[in-house]
């Protein structure tokens, strides 16, 4: 295994060539012990790559390998039984995965929830909701643990009591972004963090597009909650299509720039997200028993509360706007808003600006 780790840790040789080498020579140990002459005779390696391999041969990896094991990080190379089968199918699978926690279970459906980092309250709320309902139905939620949609989707999954997995663009021992540290820790309890980067690798911008292929690769379906016209989430969607995964997009307001990307995907043939139940239906996942949550807007709200509630939406509204719409006084509106907030059907996202939560 240590030789596999050695091979995986070489920078400068592509995963595909590493795999080829490993297949030709049968074991990673053989690759480690190979002579220069033999390497040259293989024919598919460039001069520079040969040099890289020979240089790497001199390096000590035992220490690093043991340290990794001590940190509780599992090393899953391509040629091992634990390697996710779904990933083997995708073009350009990573040579090895580093896993802190667990890998997703193969037999359980996986859904990726991705989207903009800088999202609207609507997108965030929806990601939370989809994450929660899907995980209640037993689906594993996969995402990139980024700010905004990614984090919200995973947080939702945790709220639903299910498993969630974060595919990171840095080493699995690093929590990036730092504000998601709570999520990172919670995720580790049931699910896990996955990366193709060596432990300790810094979150470099170059790593992130590449990790998107793992997110979609591990999933059966990719849900894009919010994306601008040009967005990293659309890269994930493209890769998902390339890998033969289903892509679903969440429709939004026609005026919201953060929904344009989603609308474009729908135009190009992506599935449309109507409700989590609808999605589960389409994925042939049967919802067990009472998982259906009673929609909160069926709750009995008193008339004035209802009046204020009906004016709220996913675009934040201020108290003054609501005064005008409802004809109530400032104190009444504020009073009702706090009532709604305490009931958990409205949320203050900036001072005196409220959105509705379904």
């Amino acid at each position: 295994m240590m030789y596999e780790y050695w091979l995986a840790s070489i920078y400068g040789v592509s995963a595909a060539k590493k795999r080829l080498l490993r297949e030709r020579l049968k074991t990673a140990e053989a690759v480690y012990n190979i002579e220069e002459k033999e390497l040259c005779s293989l024919g598919f390696l460039k001069e520079k790559e040969i040099q890289v391999i020979l240089e790497a041969g001199k390096r000590e990896v035992k220490g690093a390998y043991e340290r990794m094991a001590e940190q509780g990080i599992a090393f899953v190379p391509y040629f091992s039984a634990e390697y996710p089968k779904k990933l083997k199918d995708i073009p350009g699978p990573p040579y090895a995965l580093y896993v802190k926690g667990k890998l997703p279970e193969e037999s359980v459906p996986c859904v990726a929830i991705v989207g903009a980092r800088r999202c609207t309250p609507y997108g965030e709320e929806m990601a939370l909701r989809y994450g929660e309902r899907l995980s209640r139905a037993g689906v594993q939620v996969i995402s990139g643990m980024a700010r905004g949609i990614d984090g919200a989707g995973q947080r939702g999954a945790l709220n639903g009591g299910g498993k969630t997995f974060g595919v990171l663009g840095c080493g699995v021992d690093i929590c990036y972004p730092r504000e998601n540290f709570g999520l990172y820790m919670d995720m580790m309890k049931e699910g896990g963090a996955i990366s193709e980067q060596l432990p300790g690798a810094k979150p470099l911008p170059g790593y992130f597009p590449a990790r998107n292929r793992i997110i979609s690769g591990l999933s059966d379906a990719v849900l894009v909650m919010e994306a601008k016209e040009r967005s990293g989430s659309l890269i994930t969607a493209d890769m998902a299509l390339e890998q033969g995964r289903d892509v679903y997009a969440l429709p939004g307001s026609a005026t919201s720039p953060l929904s344009t990307g989603c609308h474009r995907l729908i135009q190009q043939g992506a599935g449309i997200l109507i409700s989590p139940e609808d999605l589960l239906d389409e994925m042939n996942i049967r919802v067990k028993g009472d998982l259906q949550i009673i929609s909160k807007n069926e709750k009995m709200l008193e008339t004035t509360e209802n009046l204020v509630y009906s004016c709220l939406g996913f675009i934040p509204k201020g108290v003054d706007g609501l005064i005008k719409e409802t004809g109530l006084s400032a104190r009444e509106v504020l009073e009702q808003l706090v009532t709604l907030e305490l009931q958990g059907v409205a949320k203050e996202i900036s001072k005196n600006n409220y959105i509705r939560i379904l």
Binding site: P316, V319, K351
Partner: protein, 511 residues
């Protein structure tokens, strides 16, 4: 007669120190010598006095003249000793009747031609003189109306040294300045602002009224151009007018800094001090070698407005913590401690994010990180001292065009006065005046909750992630809102409205 003594006064901070100006004339080598721990501007008085006396047509004999300003331990500063020195000298020379100078406070600066110029700090000095039992004050003419504010002491305004001498000799008569006419100016000053000028912003107006009723500090959050400073500027207009004693106290502070209006010396309205964000610590809380009151003392009894709160240097905001808590500021120097009053309502304004448009996502491009950094410029302890936080939204076109008559400040002020009197009655015998000053133990006593209310607060505490501080602030504000409803028990609607005004914990703000 070759010796004389005259009463004058020196100002240290806001404190008045009586000073006796003594002159002794004896034979010997002709000198003009001044002693008594004098600063250089007082030492220069010797030249001014001799020239002014000469130009008033009086010859100073070539004798040994010693002038002492007692007590020698008090540092004498400023030019207000010119006139007492001159009169003391003339009295020692036998030019005037000494008995007319008995129990008389003299202050004034001399011009070389013998005219008397105005000085700073007249009101506190006159009030101190009255307290010490003086019967008369000889002041520069321009300062006479200010001095007359302290009723019960004769104020003589003089224009020149000659006139003062004639008066003291009994050769001319000067009518004492009339006091008591300054009690209240009912005619509003030109440029007076009024709440009826404000269009829309109903929620902000309500929050401001709550703040003023209970004396709570207020934070306005809103995009640029939403009228935050316009509203803040109108807060003094709905505060109950200061009592006569309060007015005098405020005027004293302005007097020390030489900021009183010559014709309308009494500060009959509540001050509004808008401080620019480049302000230094010393200018804000008071400072200088001999500390002079700063902006927070000038706002005493009124409103201190900090616009663009996030742009203030953090260290400057932190010095506000003590005065906000204690309602006075202690300034310590090696040579002594100074205490200035600073009981004001703090009104602060800021944008919700660096660009100012959050949460309008069509305009705001700030990342959550940027917003966090922006809000982090205000420390939590500072936010903890603000009870009410409200959004000032951007005005819509219809609101600008609207011409519905709005409530005037006078109408709102009457309501405020009623609520304040409820509080005064309740806190009689306590060391507090309004709900904002309630301490934790007093909150338990005066903000008792019923069962339902208790349940609501419990629910809010957990679901809204309140801290103990926020919890107490909500109760204080709820107390005020209940007082606005007549002063009974705190009920659910009061609590809910108060919860709506809480300062959001930054941790949960901006995601």
């Amino acid at each position: 007669m070759s010796f004389s003594t005259i009463m004058s006064a020196a100002i240290e901070g806001l404190h008045v120190e009586p000073v006796h100006v003594e002159t002794d004339i004896s034979s010997g080598l002709p000198v003009f010598h001044m002693v008594g721990y004098l600063s250089s501007e007082v030492k220069e008085a010797s030249e001014r006095v001799r020239t002014a006396v000469h130009n008033s047509g009086i010859q100073i004999p070539a004798k040994k003249i010693i002038i002492n300003l007692a007590p020698a331990t008090v540092r004498k500063r400023g030019a207000s000793f010119d006139l007492p020195i001159a009169l003391s000298l003339l009295s020692a020379l036998g030019e005037l009747e000494a008995k007319k100078l008995k129990r008389t406070l003299v202050i004034g600066e001399l011009s070389l031609d013998g005219r008397i110029r105005e000085v700073k700090g007249v009101l506190p000095m006159v009030m101190e003189a009255k307290r010490m039992g003086c019967v008369r004050c000889l002041l520069p003419k321009g300062n006479a109306p200010e001095g007359a504010l302290a009723e019960g002491i004769e104020i003589i305004g003089t224009e020149s040294l000659r006139q003062a001498v004639d008066y003291l000799k009994g050769e001319a008569d000067i009518l004492p300045e009339e006091g008591g006419v300054w009690e209240r100016y009912d005619t509003p000053l030109p440029g007076m602002v009024d709440f009826s000028d404000i269009q829309g912003q109903e929620s902000v107006k309500r929050a401001v009224e709550v703040a003023v009723c209970g004396g709570h500090n207020l934070l306005l959050i809103g995009p640029p151009g939403s009228g935050k400073s316009m509203i803040a500027r109108r807060i003094p207009t709905i505060l109950p007018p200061p009592s006569h004693d309060e007015s005098l106290e405020i005027t004293k502070i302005y007097s020390v800094l030489g900021l009183v209006d010559k014709d309308r010396p009494l500060m009959s309205g509540r001050p509004f001090r808008s401080v620019h964000h480049t302000v230094t610590k010393a200018a804000l809380i008071g400072g200088g070698l001999i500390p002079a009151p700063g902006e927070i003392s000038l706002a005493h009894g009124g409103v201190l407005f900090l616009d663009e709160l996030t742009e203030f240097r953090k260290s400057v905001l932190e010095v506000l913590r003590q005065p906000l808590e204690e309602r006075k500021i202690h300034i310590n120097r090696a040579h002594g401690n100074y205490v200035f009053p600073s009981n004001f309502i703090l009104a602060a304004a800021m944008n919700p994010c660096p660009c100012g448009n959050y949460p309008d996502f069509s305009k705001c491009n700030c990342t959550p990180w940027q917003i966090r950094q922006y809000l982090d410029r205000i420390s939590q302890p500072f936010l903890d001292r603000i009870d009410i936080c409200v959004e000032a939204p951007k005005l819509q076109y219809e609101e600008i065009r609207e011409s519905v008559p709005k409530e005037t400040s006078a109408v709102i002020r009457r309501r405020v006065e009623a609520v304040r009197s409820i509080q005064q009655k309740r806190y009689e015998g306590q060391d507090i005046l309004n709900n904002a000053m309630l301490g934790v133990r007093q909150i338990d006593e005066f903000c008792r909750l019923g069962k339902e209310e208790e349940f609501l607060m419990k629910q809010a505490f957990t679901s809204l992630n309140l801290t103990a501080r926020t919890y107490h602030k909500i109760l204080k504000v709820a107390r005020t809102i209940a007082d606005m409803d007549g002063g009974g028990q705190i009920r659910l609607p009061h609590l809910k409205e108060a919860i709506g005004y809480r300062t959001v914990d930054k941790k949960y703000w901006g995601r």
